[in-house]
């Protein structure tokens, strides 16, 4: 949503958060209503609690460590996890 120059980066983030809400609600509903109830609400709530604390910590870390190091380290981790899932 950064394409429109009239919309600043901050507005883009805000609007994208708003657009995600109906997307997420419908997605969760379909996953849950399908046979097998593919949503663990208890697990989700615990993950969200950790996530809120982590997001603040992450923003603080981003101030101190360089983007490059974080991107490379995270990328390597994802590649390893992807291979683990495949093999």
């Amino acid at each position: 949503m950064v394409w429109s120059q009239a919309i600043s980066q901050r507005r883009a983030v805000a609007n994208s958060l708003l657009a995600i809400i109906p997307i997420s609600i419908v997605g969760v509903a379909v996953y849950y209503l399908a046979a097998g109830h593919h949503v663990r609400f208890d697990l989700g709530i615990v993950l969200a609690v950790g996530g809120v604390a982590g997001a603040r910590l992450g923003a603080a870390i981003a101030q101190k460590v360089s983007d490059r190091q974080l991107q490379v380290a995270f990328g390597i981790l994802l590649v390893v996890v992807a291979l683990r899932l495949l093999l």
């Binding site: 609007n15 997605g27 993950l47 490059r68 590649v79 683990r84």
Partner: protein
């Protein structure tokens, strides 16, 4: 949930939060594989649960942006509604496809996101 599951989930959530706070990456790329590999959750359940985790974060974010008048309600609602239709289709596919295939497709997606992140870091 037993205490170990709760502890592991808190750590997974924390790590997903750190990564998204620091790099702006969605938490799903961390939470979904972590649920599958560390908690033994089915691929589809991990994906459905990860979608659910987005909700409280997005709602609290939207509240604060609404107060600061950062939202363009009309165009965004349309984007959200069209997105929701496709999300329904995607979710329907995800629960009906063979879970092993779903996991492999997800792993390929992770591989691409990982390689892209390494490329960005090296290029910068």
């Amino acid at each position: 949930m037993n205490l170990i599951e709760i502890g592991v989930s808190l750590v997974i959530g924390l790590f997903a939060g750190v990564v998204s706070g620091a790099l702006g990456v969605g938490g799903g790329v961390v939470m979904v594989p972590a649920m599958v590999l560390l908690l033994g959750v089915d691929q589809a359940v991990a994906q459905g649960t990860s979608l659910f985790v987005i909700l409280p974060t997005a709602i609290s974010g939207v509240q604060s942006h609404y107060r600061r008048r950062n939202l363009d309600l009309q165009p965004t609602i349309w984007i959200g509604l069209v997105g929701a239709i496709f999300a329904a289709g995607g979710a329907y596919l995800a629960v009906h496809v063979d879970q092993l295939h779903m996991r492999q497709v997800f792993a390929l997606y992770l591989l691409l996101v990982g390689l892209q992140s390494i490329y960005k870091g090296v290029r910068n």
